[in-house]
Structures are given as C-alpha cells and as structure tokens.
C-alpha cells in the first residue's frame, strides 16, 4: 500500500501511521502523545485557517501544525 503524508489527508479520512521520521524534541513530543507507527488516526478537522490540524488518536484528540504533520507517514485505510 502506498503511504501519504499526514498533511495530505482529507477531513474524516482514516489511516494507520507507518513512520514518524523525526528525532529530537519534536519527535519525542509527538511520540509522548501517542503518535507512533501502527496506530490508527482519523482527521477530525482543521483550524479556521487550515492549520493546525486536529486528529483522533487512541480515543483522544490532538492538534499539530501542518509543518509537523509532514514528518508523519500514513497508510490510508
């Protein structure tokens, strides 16, 4: 299955995270919040100016900027 970047996902689209390609503080922060490979996510919506994006993950809702979503690869369901 081809993977796409989280930024490219549409509202209400779901998928499974395949890779988080960032280290350092951003990487740690992303993982602390549950964004790790193998986890299912759904796009809940975007802020009024299309950025940041809100995602459903592990039963909670997280927000991240598009520039941060660029490190996250997803296999769309």
């Amino acid at each position: 299955m081809p993977t796409i970047l989280l930024r490219e996902m549409q509202k209400d689209q779901s998928g499974t995270i395949t890779a988080v390609k960032v280290g350092g503080e951003l990487g740690r922060r992303i993982r602390d919040m549950g964004i790790v490979p193998g986890t299912r996510i759904t796009i809940m919506g975007r802020a009024p100016l299309y950025d940041p994006v809100a995602i459903r993950i592990m039963g909670g809702t997280l927000t991240l900027r598009n520039s941060e979503a660029d490190y996250i690869e997803v296999e769309p369901a």
Binding site: E25, R31, P52
Partner: protein
C-alpha cells in the same frame, strides 16, 4: 501513631488529577513553589478513616517523564529525590492507551504505585469496557476505577494506598525489552554505570542508561558534572547505537524506545483488558460540539462572543459588591477620623492604610468574577480550542498557539495578572518564543491596571465604558503581538517550536473546582495587597508627607489665616469666611505636597511629562505604580485627598478628577495608554528575570515598555490636543 504518609498524584494533564486532589483534600490545601522554579507545588492533608494522616502532593500534569518541559523535570525530580511512599497515577479511562504511556515510565522508574482509572462513566458511554482486575494482574500494581468528580471509588483507592505505604516495599523497576540493539546497549551501559558507581545513589543503572539513550538533556548534564569520563563513555555508546539505527532503519534510539513502550502497552491491553463496543472513530458528544465551536466561520465568531460575554459578566455583576466595599472603607475612615486626634498617625492610618487597602480590596469582587469566568473556560476545555484556532495567527507574530494561555492569564481577557502569565509561558519550549511571550504579556490589561482603567473610563467616558474597555483590550493585544513580532525579528530571531497539543473533551466544570480555582487566585491577589501594597501605600504616604513645610512657610499660612479671620469679623458672613479659610488650607496642603519627597520627584519629572500631559500628581502615582499597578489609583487618591486637607470630606476620586480643570478626556486617554504599556510592576520584572534566567531581560522590559508607552501617550495627548478634543 506512625509518621505522615506522603502520596504523590501523577498523571496526564486533563486526566482529572486536580479534581481528585480537590476531592481528597477539600479546603486543606497549601500552594507553594518548587525550589528554584516557579511551577506551583500543591500539597494538601488527608486523614484516613483509621486516623492516619497523609500529605497529598499534586505533581504537575505531564505526558512523559523525560526532560521535555519544566513540569516533567519537576515531577521526575520530586519522585526521585523525595521518594513519596505511594504514587497514585491518575489515568483517563476513555483514553487509556495514551495515558498508560506515563504509567509505563513510572513503572520503569519503579515507584510504589496505584493506577486510578478515572472517568469510567465517560468510558462506558463511549462503549469502552475495562477489566481493572486483569490490568492489575498484568501490570502487577493495584488498579482502581474511580470517579474523581463525585469521589466514587476514592475510599477503596486510598485504602489501597495506605496498604501499599504500610508494606513499604523497595522500588521495583519494570524492565521492558526494547529490541536487540537497544537492549544490548542498555546492558553494556548499565554495567559501565554500576562499575563506576555513576550517580547510583539517586538512580538505578538501567534507568540512567535508558535516559542517556533517550537523549535526556537534564540527566546528561548532571552526568557530565558528576563524572566526565563515564559520561564520555556512555555518550560514545549512545552515538554508536544511534548511528547504527540510523543506517539500518532510518530511526532514532528514542523512537525505538517509545515504540516498544507502546508495543508493551498494546500487548497488555490486548489481553482482554479493553474492549470497544463501538467503532473507535465514532463521534462523541464533544466532537459534535467541536463541529460548531471550531467551525471555520462560526468558531471565531463564537470565540469573540464568548470573550465579550465574559466582559459583560464581570463588569455588570461585580458592580454591586464593589460599591459595598467602597462604602465600608468610607465608613471605616469616618469612624477612625472621629476617634483619633489630628496628627501624623491619623493621617497615616486614613490616607495610607485605609485608602490603600480600600483601593485594592474594592476590586476583589471584580477579580473574583473575572477569575470565575476564566476558570469556566479553562476547566470546560474551551481555552485549548482558543489556542487551536489562534495558532495560525500567533505564528505570524513569531509566537505559539500556547502563548495565548499566557496572554489570556496575563489579562488578554482583562483582569488577569502578568505574574502567573509570565509563569504560564513556561509551557513553551523554545527559548525564543518563550522570551517573546514573557516580554510582551505585561502589555495586557492585568487586574491591577483595571482599577485605573475603570476609574478613568467611568469618569470621562461613562456613556461607552464597556465598549471602550473592550477596545482597550484589543489595543493591548495589538500592541503585544506587534511587539512580539518586532522582538522575534530583532533580538530574538530564530526557528519556531512544535505545536503538539491535546484537545481535551468538553466537560462541565465542577462547581467546587471553579470555586477553589477562583478562590486560590483571588487569595493570591489579596495576599499581595495585604503585604506588598500595604507597605508601599505607607511608604508612599511617608514620601508624600515628609519632609514637611519649613517653619517660615507654615507661619506664613498661619498668618494669612489670622488676617482673614480678623478682617472677616465685622463685614463678611460666616459662610464666605469658611470658604476663604478652606482655600488657604488647600493652598497649604498643595505646597506641602509639592515640598515633600514625592512632590519633588513628580515636579522634576514634569520637565518631560508635559509631553503626554501628566502633572506632578500623576507622575507620583506612576512612580508608585512601578511597585504595583494597584497603587496608581490609591496614590492618586492620596494625592488628591491630602490636597483637600480634610480627610473626612474626601469625596470619591472620580468626582475630584471630573471637577479638576487639568483633567479632560484626552489627558485621561493618554494616561490610560501610558498605564497599559509602561514598565511592568516590580514583581513581574522579578519574574521575567527569573524565568528568562537573566536580569538583563528584566531591565530590558522596564526600558523597552516605558519608552514605548511614553511615545504612544505623547502621540495620543498631542494628537488629541491638535485635533481640539482637549476642550
């Protein structure tokens, strides 16, 4: 009787930690600070049914135990150094997998702990069934379902905590396998640490090795100081593993570690611990609310409405209690002046103490209502949505969506305080965005500036007070954001930091939580008023009283009085005699105030302050305002009531200003603008210095803000005069 048991509460933000803390400790709370940092340290007392006592410590909410934020460092240091008897780990049962990530780290640390499954009712509504017993068996720690709001399950929770504390078992760290590469590195490093006895008195070798691999800057720094040779050895192993992982799998040690932690959790939860009745993506009530509240078009409109509503609420409902308090202090002043003989003591008590305290306490209801409103926004989860919607805008100014919290706490919704605002900026990770926020939050209309703004708007713009106050808030935002951008383009240039944040589900705030929240902040304000401001009020009274007029001048006034009285004997009526005497008294009070230390400073400053249109009385008040902004109104009051010589007849300050020929709407507006933007109060400056780690920034904020305010106020005054509004 055994010793007091220490129980620490740890958990994610929004997991209900504070709610549980409030439920357990009620009003028996003590709020302090952790040494060295300004993270709030909340502790409270709990008494078991058996009579044993416990101290409950509410650790800051964190997602992890790495050194990502100051909160995480504080929580971790507390656990490692203070070694609490029991740790209660509060988890949100409706979002268990993410919440258990912190639990695994606590288990890896080895603390004696209990997991509290909070909000099981929400989980049930979402079709999630949890087997607490099974989870307990698998993790080998007690797991107790609770409802922190109602206190359901807390007796059982505390019973377990007591039992665990009595057992007093040694710490028992959990070992998770992180895959071949990392496990091998861990073993090598742990051996190396054990041999050298490297910081082993505080930490276990494996845990230390893990932190090195995770790239934990705090631990590495400690290690470097402790033993540079071992540190270098460990760093070398870390570098080797990192390089290997990057080459073979294009990943990082900390990523592998996190993945395996989640893997461990998944394997635990899969063993019939958790079952979902509905599709996991099902929309909850909270999501449906979000569809409206964060809607592209409706969201911002509603947000504006909510903020405006908070204004109306605060200003309308606090008016009555404010009037009561003013009346009370007026009455107190009258009583006291009747009881005491004339002299310095009476003058100090009435002009210094009562006027000072009255001016400050009179605004307590206003602040209480405002904090109550903010607490509703905070506790309901709406404030996080505001950050979500505002981030794109804030980023333009080189800030972060989380900056909005600092701004709002500081008075973005008027009535906050820059001191907690400066502290709220701590959630920002990047030093540059944090500094930019730190240095600009003081532009907001904090609760202490409100009295000045309220007084001046009520006196000179009474027909449009609410609208003007709202405009002033927008102005504060505009100025703060522009200033932040200027700072980020000049002294604080650089990259932006991550915005990964949780949108907690909407919740009805508990009334008890709101009250505690409101009371805590109001009490902080009253304490500040009761100590610093009282002292400053008296100091300023002294500055305005001493040195008194020289003998020759006093004699001059006494002589004038005699002359008037003598000449009045036959011809004039008693009324006009009284007027003439009063005029002399006023003149004398005026010249003695000018003669005093404060008057001299104020007069000296008139050489520049004529530009924004301030006279020496205003100058005195502004100097006092640097100590604390609350003092501005009281000093003006003292200046004018002293000027009138008769403390018994002190009409309200608003009336006095309205009658004074020097004052008009343009002067008032110039003063409003100056007060909004000039040097932050001394306490804030101290906080800025401490938070930024350098006095340089504290001094910078004084100079930068005052210079800017002076410019703007001059523009308003001279512009207003040129346009002919000063009439």
């Amino acid at each position: 009787m055994s010793k007091t048991i220490t129980i620490a509460l740890a958990g994610n933000p929004n997991a209900g930690k504070t709610t549980l803390f409030n439920t357990l400790t009620g009003a028996r709370q003590h709020v302090g600070n952790y040494p060295g940092v300004t993270v709030e340290k909340k502790a409270g007392a709990y008494i078991f049914p058996s009579g044993e006592q416990a101290t409950i410590v509410d650790l800051p909410g964190t997602y992890s135990l790495t050194a990502y934020s100051v909160e995480e460092v504080v929580a971790r240091d507390y656990l490692v150094q203070e070694k609490p008897d029991v740790v209660i780990n509060i988890t949100d049962a409706s979002n268990l997998e993410r919440n258990l990530y912190l639990s695994t780290q606590l288990l890896e640390l080895g603390v004696p702990m209990i997991i509290a499954l909070n909000m099981i009712d929400v989980a049930q509504d979402r079709g999630i069934t949890l087997d607490a017993q099974r989870l307990s068996d698998l993790l080998k720690v007690p797991v107790i379902p609770i409802l922190a709001r109602s206190g359901k399950g807390t007796p059982e929770l505390m019973g377990n905590a007591l039992e665990l504390a009595r057992k007093n078992t040694p710490w028992n760290p959990l070992h998770i396998s992180y895959g071949e590469d990392v496990d091998l590195a861990l073993r090598t490093m742990a051996e190396c640490i054990s041999e050298a006895g490297f910081m082993t008195d505080s930490y276990t070798p494996r845990w230390l090795a893990l932190k090195y691999l995770e790239g934990d800057s705090q631990i590495q720094e400690k290690g470097r100081k402790n033993n540079p040779t071992v540190d270098a050895q460990l760093q070398e192993i870390v570098a080797r593993v990192s390089a290997h992982l990057h080459q073979t799998m294009e990943t990082y040690p900390e990523a592998i570690i996190a993945d395996h932690r989640y893997g461990y959790l998944k394997s635990v939860l899969r063993q019939e611990v958790i079952t979902h009745k509905f599709d996991i993506d099902r929309l909850h009530a909270s999501d449906r609310i979000d569809k409206v509240l964060t809607n592209r078009f409706l969201g911002p409109l509603i947000m504006l409405g909510v903020l405006l509503g908070l204004y109306k609420f605060t200003f309308t409902y606090s008016a009555l209690p404010v009037a009561w308090i003013e009346t009370f202090f007026g009455w107190l002043g009258t009583i006291l002046s009747g009881l005491l003989p004339d002299g310095h003591l009476k003058s100090m008590l009435i002009s210094g103490v009562i006027d000072g305290m009255g001016g400050v306490l009179g605004f307590v209801p206003l602040i209480m209502f405002m904090f109550f409103g903010i607490a509703i926004l905070e506790d309901s989860g709406y404030l996080a949505r505001v950050a979500f919607m505002m981030d794109r805008v804030f980023r333009i100014f080189g800030l972060h969506g989380s900056s909005v919290m600092a701004y709002i706490v500081s008075g973005g919704i008027a009535g906050g305080c820059a001191v907690p605002g400066v502290m709220a900026a701590r959630t920002l990770r990047s030093p540059r965005e944090r500094l930019a926020t730190l240095l600009t939050v003081s532009f907001m209309n904090c609760g202490a500036k409100l009295p000045v703004l309220a007084l001046l708007t009520a006196t000179f713009f009474s027909n449009n007070q609410a609208q003007l106050m709202f405009l002033l808030t927008l102005l504060a935002w505009g100025v703060a954001l522009t200033a932040a951008k200027v700072l980020r383009l000049t002294v604080l240039r650089g990259e932006s930091t991550p915005f990964v944040m949780e949108l907690p589900p909407y919740r009805f705030p508990t009334f008890r939580g709101l009250l505690i929240h409101t009371w805590e902040r109001t009490w902080q304000y009253i304490k500040k008023a009761g100590t610093t401001i009282l002292a400053i009020s008296i100091l300023i009274w002294a500055m305005m009283t001493f040195p008194g007029l020289p003998k020759s001048e006093e004699e001059f006034f006494a002589q004038q009085r005699q002359e008037v009285t003598a000449s009045a004997d036959q011809t004039t009526e008693a009324l006009s005699l009284k007027e003439k005497l009063a005029a002399i008294d006023t003149a004398q009070a005026g010249s003695s105030l000018r003669h005093s230390l404060a008057g001299r400073i104020g007069t000296a400053m008139e050489s520049v302050s004529w530009l924004p249109g301030f006279d020496w009385r205003t100058n005195i008040a502004l100097v006092g305002g640097f100590a604390a902004k609350e003092v501005i109104v009281t000093t003006l009051g003292t200046a004018y009531s002293l000027g009138e010589t008769d403390p018994e007849a002190n009409g309200s300050l608003a009336e006095t200003l309205a009658r004074d020929p020097h004052w008009n709407p343009v002067v008032a507006l110039a003063l409003i603008v100056f007060v909004m933007f000039y040097a932050p109060c001394f306490v804030t400056v101290v906080c800025i210095s401490r938070e930024s780690g350098s006095w340089k920034w504290g001094v910078f904020s004084i100079c930068f803000n005052t210079g800017f305010a002076f410019l703007l106020a001059t523009l308003v005054y001279q512009g207003g005069r040129a346009l002919g509004f000063a009439g």
